[in-house]
Amino acid sequence: MADETPKPEELIQIDHRPPKTDWMEVPVNIRKGMYCYASNPKSVEYVGLPHAREWNPLDEDWKLPENWQEIIHEGFKERLEKFRSFKVFMDICVRCGACADKCHYFIGTGDPKNMPVLRAELLRSVYRNDFTRMGKILGKVNGARPMTVDVLKEWWYYLFQCTECRRCSVFCPYGIDTAEITIMGRELLNLLGLNIDWIATPVANCYRTGNHLGIQPHAFKDMLDFFVEDIEEVTSVQVDYSINKKGADILFITPSGDVFADPGTYTAMGYLMLFHYLKEKYGLDVTWSTYGSEGGNFGFFTSHETMKRLNAKMYAEAKRLGVKWILGGECGHMWRVINQYMDTMNGPADFLEEPVSPITGTKFENAKSNKMVHIAEFTSDLIMHGKLELDLSRNDHLKVTFHDSCNPARGMGIFEEPRYIINHVCNNFYEMPANTIRENTFCCGSGAGLNAGENMELRMAGGLPRANAVKYVHEKYGVNMLACICAIDRAALPSLMEYWVPEVDVTGVHELVANALIMPGENERATDLRREDITGREGVEKVEEGESEGESEEQADE
């Protein structure tokens, strides 16, 4: 797949001028590199979603159920009644075009149907035809059209070219949120069994094993044990951790992606080190969970109901383990779900306590009801109260910039906490241009379940605005590390950087914390967690590598 992806010089040739032909006359062209594979029927079946079957987006025949038009129409109607957002957003767009060039996919592809307004019009055109008088009378001239197989394919293609990042909604004078429209559109597609596998299979995995990657409990523990080994090699400290421990103070839930793949694994090590530090110094008892081993929620990219079904584990596990409150790791859409949906869907969590940091005594008033605290809130509070011993110079080999992940930015508003942390664990921090960060931040191009391998061209195009801003600070300040608080970013941005700005690596904020954190009983560290030399420590003797694998396997077998 990767070989077929155009080169950066080719991909940057973007024409943002729409064609002469009316958009309704331009048939959808489902192009390799731009779409994700269809969902595996076994995954769809496992979670009991309708119309599981083998199908291929490139085929003429999508094997739709007989009454598919009726299903869409009824589903549309139902959602107009259940979601005011959907109904209002269908009605009030004036097509001013302010959103047009705000979408990373439009910027990166020039495809006019990636302008948020036109993405919404794909649905709105059917809405006008099916649910408004004006649309019925005037038809195409007034942007109305009946639902056909071609329209359905167009929906599918472009609703899976939206990462629900909400950037357009910041600029819309009525706050029309394309994420909301995409969410509804994908729900409708799911009624016909038209999901992508990169979403459907993680959903099924998460339902069964507790995490998207399908890591079974014993393997999950193995992975943490590997990290313990790695940490010991760098710091000579053997960190202690708990899993599924009843009566712990806090349940910690983070995306499984960070347990599974680099560079997220270093962030996971960062958590382990932080919790170990807090246990040693202050007696804080944090437990991980295998049943709740996923912070992310690909159900959110499937349907509201699926989101709720997967999210239910968080409170259920907190209740079972009898913890006081829940701490959530660095993740993007996970936090959109926790912040804006969880309490409503699966609350009230009256069996938990209002979150208080046992170390600083800080009451997290902002999480009073849903009882879940973001780790950036937690750690920045620790740093503010001087509870962490930090050696900033250990991050001196890094020139860091920070990527605000879409969901924590525009679905939560967590901007200062991660910056506060970075500024207290690193000496070199540089912001990207103002129009590309905070509420204006650009998506990694791979969110909302689109970080598959087969749609690499789409991902590289969609990530262009982000990469371009990173390139700017790389050239201007020599930035070599892109920090973020999202596991999908950590999975997606490395390939994006490799493609557009190869000199920049990607890190989680807690990896930086762990680099700087002075652990009780540690040696003088020669390298960071990635075994890269720390500036000014070249002389320090390194811990030998090599034994790690055999040893940890042995331990895992025990």
């Binding site: 421990k245 409503t344 800080t362 902002n366 967590i414 506060y420 605005p465």
Partner: protein, 363 residues
């Protein structure tokens, strides 16, 4: 030819002809001056209410504000009150900024892909200025027109008229007498703003691509309204006393058609009637909808106060017990604590509920 604007243009011309010619027929003046305006107003009021009630009937299951600033979290972190409002008052301010100053539009940037693969985003405020000019000019024109419907004319209306006509210029020419009566800036600003919004749709490629008939139609109609109004005031010099007699008749439900009302007036009031009747069934309802937009009118305190979803229903979940049943052996083998220890081969009593052996996974 692009049907998306030619059809609305033809429609407005036809409407003009209907009113202009119709007004020449004495009996029809009553239809254009009384019957249609009443019907239009009723349609507007009922239609508007119908739409707003329609929206309010839809549930708001989740609190989904767009957070465009720092959340209210730790006390020492500065909270962005109006871009991430945590309480109702802050939402009111956010909404006021949005509705009165078009705050989101004020953020507008224009993306450019430059030489050397550099992308820039420059502040682009033409749309914001154009939109503000349009809406405020329209508002002033509306308020000024209250003169025709209230007797005596309220002070506020007079004040606004005075401000609006501060600019005086006189052109006295046989066919075009300008400057007397006082020139109201608002009418000309409205005309200019409508023209800008139209030209934008015509010449900005992306906007042209997305525009449909119902984007052009109100622009043409409002252009016609403004133009006919200006024409009456400065060119044909309509008999204002007669017009006021007519409009007061409408307000007091004693409709009359006084003699000497110009045909252009009937065009003007017919256009306005069409706009009113069209309003509730069109995108112009953004006037009402902007107040109901869930990404703007909700507080961001979703973790502080539980929002209730009126249709929340129980869903099937994969319980911990089912999970442990599937993985129990592996968990035990890995030293993970379990709720029930695996049962030896022969069937026994179900495992007691007493605390399972809780092994620490660390030796």
């Amino acid at each position: 030819m692009n049907l998306r604007y030619t059809i609305p243009l033809i429609a407005v011309i036809v409407l003009f002809l209907i009113a202009f010619l119709g007004a020449q027929v004495p009996g029809l003046q009553y239809v254009f001056g009384v019957v249609i305006p009443y019907l239009a107003l009723i349609t507007f009021v009922l239609g508007f209410a119908y739409r707003v009630i329609g929206w309010s009937r839809s549930a708001v299951p989740f609190k989904i504000p767009t957070t465009a600033g720092q959340q209210k979290s730790l006390p020492w972190i500065k909270h962005s009150k109006f871009d991430c409002p945590a309480n109702t008052w802050q939402v009111v301010v956010r909404m006021a900024l949005e509705i009165l100053t078009f705050r989101s539009l004020f953020r507008n940037t224009r993306m450019k892909l430059k030489e050397g693969a550099r992308i820039s985003y420059q502040l682009e405020l033409f749309l914001w200025v154009g939109a503000l000019a349009f809406h405020y000019a329209f508002l002033v024109v509306l308020i000024r027109h209250l003169r025709f419907f209230i007797e005596p004319v309220p002070f506020v209306v007079q004040l606004i008229e005075n401000v609006d006509s501060f600019f005086r210029m006189e052109i006295i020419y046989p066919v075009f007498k300008f400057g007397l009566p006082g020139v109201f800036i608002s009418g000309f600003v409205l005309l200019a703003a409508v023209s800008y919004l139209f030209l934008r749709r015509l010449f900005v490629h992306q906007v042209k691509y997305i525009s449909i008939a119902s984007d052009y139609f109100p622009l043409f109609l409002i252009f016609g309204i403004a133009l006919s109004g200006i024409f009456m005031r400065y060119v044909t010099k309509v008999d204002v006393t007669a017009v006021k007699e007519l409009t007061m008749g409408l307000v007091t439900f004693q409709p009359t058609i006084p003699a000497g009302v110009d045909a252009v007036f009937f065009v003007h009031i017919f256009f306005v009637s069409i706009l009113l009747a069209y309003f509730p069934f069109s995108k112009l309802m953004h006037l009402g909808g902007v107040f109901l937009s869930p990404t703007r009118n909700m507080t961001t305190d979703t973790r502080v106060r539980r929002h209730i979803n009126p249709w929340n229903y129980p869903v099937p979940v994969h319980t911990y017990d089912e999970y442990e049943d599937e993985f129990r052996e592996k968990m035990v083998e890995a030293g993970l604590p379990v709720e029930k220890m695996p049962q030896p081969a022969p069937a026994e009593e179900p495992a007691s509920d007493s605390e399972p052996e809780q092994e620490e996974q660390k030796e």
